[in-house]
């Protein structure tokens, strides 16, 4: 092909390309439809079945399309969604919901008690493989006495049940779609937005659901672009290509306030960064060794170094209403001398070697956290070998309990029992990962599940937290923020500690 190139042809091609750049940029800078919110995120949903998808990236999308019976507001209080009211029976074994008579699916059909019953039966059916089923073990039967009432009969008092129902993993889907087997291939919910188009890992087109029972929606729709690199998201915000974005990387998020047209929303979240020790392995089976590790770690330093100070040092309880003053917890003030003494008492005055696993980029700060912890523990003679893994490989090792220590970002819940029963009860599903349990932890958790008085519940879980930190199976580090960034023209977004984007139903764009 190169045989016949002339200088003239070359220069013609070059100027043609230059023109294309200029025109392309001019086209790109043009205005878009004003009433559609243009949004970007770096990780796309991985599926559309609200009962099966547990990844944050999927839940963020499904929350716009589907609705549970109730949802949590910005203060984690339970507010109506498909149900307009609810009530526990006096003995706590019956939970009754009144449905909103105006609630409709996006095909115009009303949401009925039969849909609620079918949805929960689908979750409870083992063939569905819904991970959330673990939260609904107390449901014995579901009754639908009339056209607006659903009653859940429980096998035992279960106070956290209502909070567990306020999850998109307990969304109400049409009974007809369940029968047809089309849940997950077709997105048909009762939420504020309809999914018109989904091109996985590329883009979503959502339109406002005019019949939504929850109120008026401020935009005509939302166009979501998947931009895998968050610096490209920031660049798109800067050039007004997008109005709103979800950010994960604190380093990118902290650059947003430097742009005059942009606003950063920063919300403390329930998820927690933690160093998990594995008490099934020597020498972490030794209480003094675990306590020594806890005392040798400077949590604030981990936060400042790995996450540019974006977050707050935390104990196990991260939800407002249950948090205690972290500085009063065992060894939350770093004490290297005490740590060395504990190591000597345990017979490890010369330290030991161990491996810590962490997932690549999940969270973005994982590698940095592991490195800070490595240098801090070196001071008491613990030689850490850091093993970075692809997320799936990490999850596989984590689920098998195949690690000495693990740097993790674990999800939080609005209720302490729902959050920790998987790890710190004798029957917990993830006891094989936690590998530590004692009678005190187990009995406090059981008391907490049954106690209905809020003040007494708070006291029970405060005891639970204090004991858990003292026995140090894990070293809780800090909670971070969820970030959204937006143009100043976007108004009315309310973030929540769960990182929900449901608040997009009330945003509007100023001209």
């Amino acid at each position: 092909m190169g045989r016949n190139f002339s200088a003239k042809q070359v220069s013609g091609l070059v100027s043609g390309l230059a023109l294309a750049v200029a025109l392309g940029a001019a086209v790109a800078a043009g205005p878009a439809s004003a009433a559609t919110l243009r949004m970007a995120w770096s990780q796309d949903a991985t599926g559309l079945d609200p009962h099966k998808q547990t990844a944050f990236s999927s839940i963020r999308l499904l929350e716009l399309i589907y609705e549970p019976l109730v949802r949590l507001d910005k203060d984690l209080q339970i507010v109506p969604a498909v149900a307009s009211s609810w009530e526990f029976s006096a003995d706590g074994t019956q939970l009754t919901f009144k449905l909103n008579p105006n609630a409709k699916f996006q095909d115009g059909k009303p949401v009925t008690p039969a849909d609620v019953k079918a949805s929960f039966e689908r979750i409870l059916d083992e063939k569905t493989a819904a991970a959330a089923r673990a939260n609904f073990g107390s449901i014995a039967s579901i009754e639908t006495p009339d056209q607006t009432t659903v009653t859940f009969k429980l096998s035992r008092p279960d106070v956290p049940l209502l909070t567990a129902m306020a999850s998109i993993n307990a969304a109400i889907v049409p009974a007809a779609e369940i029968t047809a087997g089309s849940v997950g291939t077709k997105a048909l919910g009762s939420g504020p937005f309809k999914l018109e188009k989904w091109d996985p890992n590329s883009k979503e087109v959502l339109t406002a659901n005019k019949d939504w029972a929850g109120g008026k929606i401020g935009v005509d729709g939302i166009d979501i672009s998947v931009l895998p690199d968050e610096t490209a998201i920031l660049a798109s915000l800067r050039t007004k290509q997008i109005d709103f974005a979800l950010l994960n990387d604190p380093l990118v998020a902290t650059l947003v306030p430097k742009e005059t047209n942009l606003i950063l929303n920063r919300t403390p979240v329930l998820a927690y960064h933690v160093l998990q020790l594995n008490p099934a392995r020597k020498p972490m089976d030794n209480l003094a060794v675990r306590q020594a590790i806890s005392c040798a770690i400077d949590r604030q330093d981990v936060l400042d170094t790995a996450s540019v100070g974006e977050g707050k040092v935390t104990g196990p309880l991260t939800m407002p209403g249950y948090t205690t003053d972290a500085s009063t917890l065992f060894c939350y003030k770093r004490d290297v001398e005490k740590a060395k003494k504990l190591m000597a008492d345990a017979g490890f005055a010369d330290g030991f070697s161990a491996t810590v696993i962490a997932a690549n980029g999940e969270p973005a700060t994982a590698a940095a956290e592991a490195q800070v912890i490595q240098s801090q523990l070196a001071e008491i003679g613990v030689k850490l070998d850091i093993k970075m893994m692809e997320l799936n490989v990490y999850v596989d090792a984590w689920l098998k309990g195949d690690f000495d220590m693990a740097v993790a970002l674990n999800g939080g819940r609005a209720d302490p029992y729902s959050m920790y029963n998987r790890y710190w009860t004798k029957a917990g599903n993830l006891q094989k990962v936690a590998n530590y349990i004692d009678d005190t932890l187990d009995s406090l958790m059981q008391k907490g599940r049954e106690e209905t008085d809020p003040a007494k519940r708070k006291a029970i879980f405060a005891d639970f937290e204090k004991h858990l930190v003292e026995v140090s199976p894990w070293v809780w580090l800090y909670t971070s923020y969820s970030y959204t960034a937006q143009q100043k023209t976007v108004q009315g977004f309310v973030p929540t500690p769960e990182g929900s984007l449901f608040g997009l139903s009330s945003v509007s764009i100023q001209q």
Partner: protein, 320 residues
């Protein structure tokens, strides 16, 4: 048997080998479609729930049975269904391929348009300051990772000029050529940049070899102009290493350019494979790898055929 027939006959054998390799490798990596979907929540599943999911993803059978089923499908032109897209794998791949092909072609153009003239220019100014300048520039180009170039371009355009192409989607060229070029030109420059540097270095050294050959001296002594000697006599003979290099590079580019596609949010083959691996979408990974291997073989064959066209002395298939 002609050279072409023999080469074509090796295709199915190579494809079979590739298919076994990818089928086994992706399953040997710890983690599966279930952990990819549920993350640590997978630990909450009961054994019955796990079995149900394994059945859904088709990973409940022994690996030989799985492979045999898949292979039987492939012979009927069915590469399987992607669990992420809920559609046949081949359809998903063919949808992504035009972008990848266009990006490969455009970045090759950028590389050759910059690299060839620069290489020829440097060769004619051998060991002068201008030659040194080109060589330093080529060295920088070759050693700068393309994601750095991409991020710098994006930052400079958005922060300095307030412009940026629309990202996150792909407009086919024939639908809206201007919008298409607006989206593709920066990624093409980013990808072409490093490759232009390699082309510069290879074409410079090939030209230097050729320029010292007898026939070039003869042409000069017969009074041919310097320009005619370089472009008509020397360059065609210096092109063979450039064609080899371009062929290999083009084959790679047809496999997608993961980093550049990530930075510019282009839905191309590279990101398709990456996401498929991360989500353990087995059928999609297998389909993509087979497709990429096939393209690579075709490009290699075309390169070999191009040798014969460029240099009449090369006769393919004779004596090995």
């Amino acid at each position: 048997m002609s050279y072409l027939t023999r080469r074509l006959l090796t295709f199915p054998l190579v494809m079979l080998g590739v298919s076994i390799l990818v089928f086994v490798t992706i399953r040997m990596v710890p983690g599966d479609a279930i952990t990819a979907m549920l993350g640590t929540e997978a630990g909450l599943l009961t054994p019955a729930q796990r079995d149900a999911l394994a059945g859904y993803f088709g990973i409940d059978q022994p690996i030989l049975v799985q492979y045999w089923r898949w292979l039987a499908g492939v012979f009927q032109g069915d590469l399987g269904i992607s669990v992420t897209y809920g559609r046949p794998v081949l359809g998903v791949i063919l949808e992504r391929f035009p972008l990848t092909l266009q990006l490969a072609l455009m970045s090759m153009c950028v590389a050759l348009l910059v690299g060839l003239p620069a290489g020829v220019f440097a060769a004619t100014r051998n060991e002068k300051m201008s030659d040194l300048g080109v060589r330093i520039f080529a060295m920088i180009g070759q050693s700068t990772p393309n994601f750095v170039v991409g991020l710098l371009i994006i930052y400079a355009l958005s922060a300095g000029f307030g412009i940026l192409p629309v990202m996150g989607e792909f407009t086919p060229f024939f639908e809206d050529p201007l919008r298409n070029l607006g989206q593709m030109i920066l990624p093409a420059i980013t990808l072409g940049f490093a490759f232009a540097a390699s082309v510069t270095r290879i074409s410079r050294s090939a030209m230097l070899d050729v320029l010292s050959d007898d026939y070039v001296r003869t042409a000069r002594s017969k009074g041919a102009s310097k320009r005619s000697v370089i472009w008509r006599h020397a360059l065609p003979n210096a092109l063979i290493p450039v064609v080899t290099l371009s062929g290999v590079e083009f084959g790679y580019l047809l496999g997608g350019a993961v980093l550049v596609e990530q930075i510019y949010a282009l839905p191309g083959l590279g990101r398709l494979v990456l996401d498929a691996i991360l989500q353990r979408d087995y059928a999609l990974v297998q389909g993509c790898v087979l497709f990429i291997a096939f393209n690579f073989m075709v490009v290699n064959l075309l390169v070999d055929l191009a040798y014969a066209a460029l240099d009449p002395r090369i006769r393919l298939g004779e004596g090995g």
